[in-house]
Amino acid sequence: MKKILTIASGLLLLTLAFAWWMSSRGPKPVELIPTLTGQPEYCITCHADVPDISPSHPTVTFGCVTCHGGERLALNADLAHSTMRGGANPSDLSVVEASCGGSNCHSGSEADDRNHIQRVMTSVQSTYAGAIANIRYTFGAQTDLNAHFGISAVTDDQTQTGITSLAPFDPASETNPSIQKFGEECLTCHLRAEPREGDAYARQTGCAACHSPAPPLSSGEGWGEGKIHTLTTAISYAQCNTCHNRGNYDLRSMTFVERDDHPTQRIDDYYQPIAQFTQCEYTLDCVDCHTRDEAMGDGDIHANQKSIEYVQCKTCHGTPTELPLTKTLTDPNDIAFRLAFLNPVVDLQLGDTIIVTEKGEPLWNTKVLRDGTYEMIGKATNQYFTFKPVMGSHCTQSGEDQSSSYCHECHAVERQP
């Protein structure tokens, strides 16, 4: 009996030593206490290699959990990740309010121009209202072109456009087979939709669809294998292309016809063979001319893209009879300074004169030079451009007829067939 007891006590000591060894084997927890929350989190125990997502969101300030959710104390991957918002993308519109919202951040602010979540939720990029209304009108499901439906329900109490709400579009409740097919095939390019398969369509949903450029299309280097941890306002045209230059809808078969090539020459590879382009349109990035309101919405529900898109050639170039609208920066709190701070490609100073749109949005990457010409810095490329106003040139186009098609008449570049 004593012998058995000796062996058993030896075994007990061995298992205890084994327990000791096992608990000393795990990763050494690495603590981070973000200054914003003051609550310790241990995500960087495993994710030490993730870079700051942007200069405005340094990890030491925000930590990880503020945006991503998750169990901040857990050292087990499954548990730690179990309550993450939106999987790897907390900006997905289903969770964006919890991740990016709040009156200190990107929603609930008095000022419309800081209320980004409400703007995006109501913008045509997430409602898809124009396309839905057009298709329903075309196939007889509604008698006007007004927007009644969006991808999901949205409301706007302080509407400037007269549209106070959109009901969620439900293809299953439509009777026309073409509209049903539209529902199945054509709802892949709004901000709530997962992208189509293929590298050329690679983008996230929600804010990250535009602000987290996916490699290999972006100019920046991606982090990790196919993962990206970047938020930027320097958005290259390639990011816009993940939706806007990837094919075309065939209304007869109600399918999306994907293009099978990759654009290398921007001028030659645009998918609309009949489209015309001036030099700016294939040299600049989309965001160099198109404004925040156009891309993200202005807080009101719009019936279609046309109702929100308003920047034209004349915004920068003026007309034969008028110079472009400009503004001299006298207020240090002018939003132009904030935008230039977020993407510091220009060194904007008080007293500088910049071009503004007819709605008063600053084209903060432009400047009026002393000799009456203008300069523009590419937001994504940092390229320097100078240009002259139309006024004083040989252009004889009427100031009343200024849509881009008139400009294309003379200034479009001949494309290779």
């Binding site: 007891l5 927890p29 857990a74 548990l79 179990s82």
Partner: protein
């Protein structure tokens, strides 16, 4: 040599038959060991656990992942608690199958059953203390079952959980029940139970004139056997605690939500299965209570086992008791399996 304190807890000699492993399965002693481990590990956990709805689950994560050996101690606590229920059930079955509950042990049978019920309640309240997404079903369903009891239901609910919703006050109530209210009762009943084992003449064997084996062993030998059992159980427990982490889930945010997949703790799965069939008072309260009452009444309403049969496995003289307890065990196991497999 004068006996040490631990030796002194035992009689100088006992009949050899009383201490054979195949006679007792060591279940009662193992239960005491597990309770001691639960006490020690529980006290260690109390240094870090925060009984407050906002911090409870986070403090459990702190214990599990950040306190040195915290995860190991928590696993020991968890597995001791689960094993305690199994060992207690085996102990109860052994007592019935060896006809060991007859006079003068009838009252001690009730004491033991009381300890078993308290152990189940302790396990249940311990489950709730996690206060994470994994405990929503037992919390909501378990406490609402109390309310279904006619006349005194609301009163019992208030005693157990506190007023209003099973929410903020509930955690503090469960905490106090777990570490103090139930523990003090289990301590009193447990010590009383062990004391009565000795007072009733040790482990049940036939009276001296009916014994075939009159060999006796010293308490030194008895303690050695107990120590061996302690070592074996400890090794098993430590290995389980190393390789099988205790369940943990994300912190509960807002009110507990019961989903389709939510499960009761394993020892109440049989009740959860019955609750699918309808009336919660009948299936969730009356039937479990009837099962308990029937088990408790075995020594009182069934014929006394014959003296010669005491301590022998599956004797003829208490067949009916064996059949009843087997039927109860089978029904509980089948219902549990039905719940597990759906």
């Amino acid at each position: 040599m004068r006996p040490s304190f631990f030796h002194h807890l035992h009689p100088p000699t006992i009949p050899a038959v009383q201490s054979r492993w195949r006679h007792t399965l060591g279940a009662g002693g193992t239960a005491i060991l597990l309770m001691l481990i639960l006490g020690v590990t529980g006290i260690l956990e109390m240094f870090y656990y925060v009984p407050n709805p906002q911090e409870a689950a986070l403090s459990v994560q702190t214990i599990t992942y950040h306190v040195p050996f915290g995860g190991f101690v928590r696993n020991l606590h968890y597995w001791s608690a689960q094993l305690l229920l199994i060992v207690s059930a085996i102990h109860l079955l052994r007592v019935v199958f060896t006809a060991s509950y007859g006079r003068p042990r009838r009252f001690n049978y009730l004491l033991g059953l009381g300890v078993f019920v308290l152990a189940i309640l302790l396990d249940f309240t311990g489950y709730i203390l996690r206060w994470d997404e994994g405990i929503c079903y037992p919390l909501v369903t378990g406490t609402n079952l109390l309310k279904t009891i006619p006349l005194i239901g609301d009163f019992l609910f208030r005693i157990a959980v506190g007023g209003g919703e099973a929410c903020n006050t509930a955690l503090l109530r469960f905490y106090t029940w777990h570490i103090f209210g139930l523990t003090i009762f289990v301590l009193i009943l447990g010590v009383w139970h062990a004391f009565r084992v000795r007072r009733d003449g040790g482990i049940a064997v036939p009276p001296p004139q009916l014994r075939t084996d009159n060999e006796r062993i010293s308490r030194n030998e008895l303690v050695r056997r107990e120590v061996l059992q302690i070592f074996v159980v400890s090794i098993v427990l430590i290995l389980m605690s190393i390789f099988l982490p205790a369940p943990i889930a994300a912190a509960m945010t807002g009110k507990p939500i019961v989903t389709e997949e939510a499960r009761a703790p394993w020892f109440f799965l049989w009740v959860q299965q019955m609750l699918k069939w309808g009336d919660p008072f009948l299936f969730g309260v009356l039937i479990p209570f009837a099962v308990l009452t029937l088990t408790a009444l075995i020594p009182y309403i069934l014929p006394e086992p014959a003296d010669a049969d005491i301590g022998s496995w599956f004797p003829k003289s208490n067949r009916l008791a064996q059949i009843i307890i087997i039927a109860i065990a089978l029904i509980v196991i089948v219902l549990t399996l039905m719940m597990v497999l759906t």
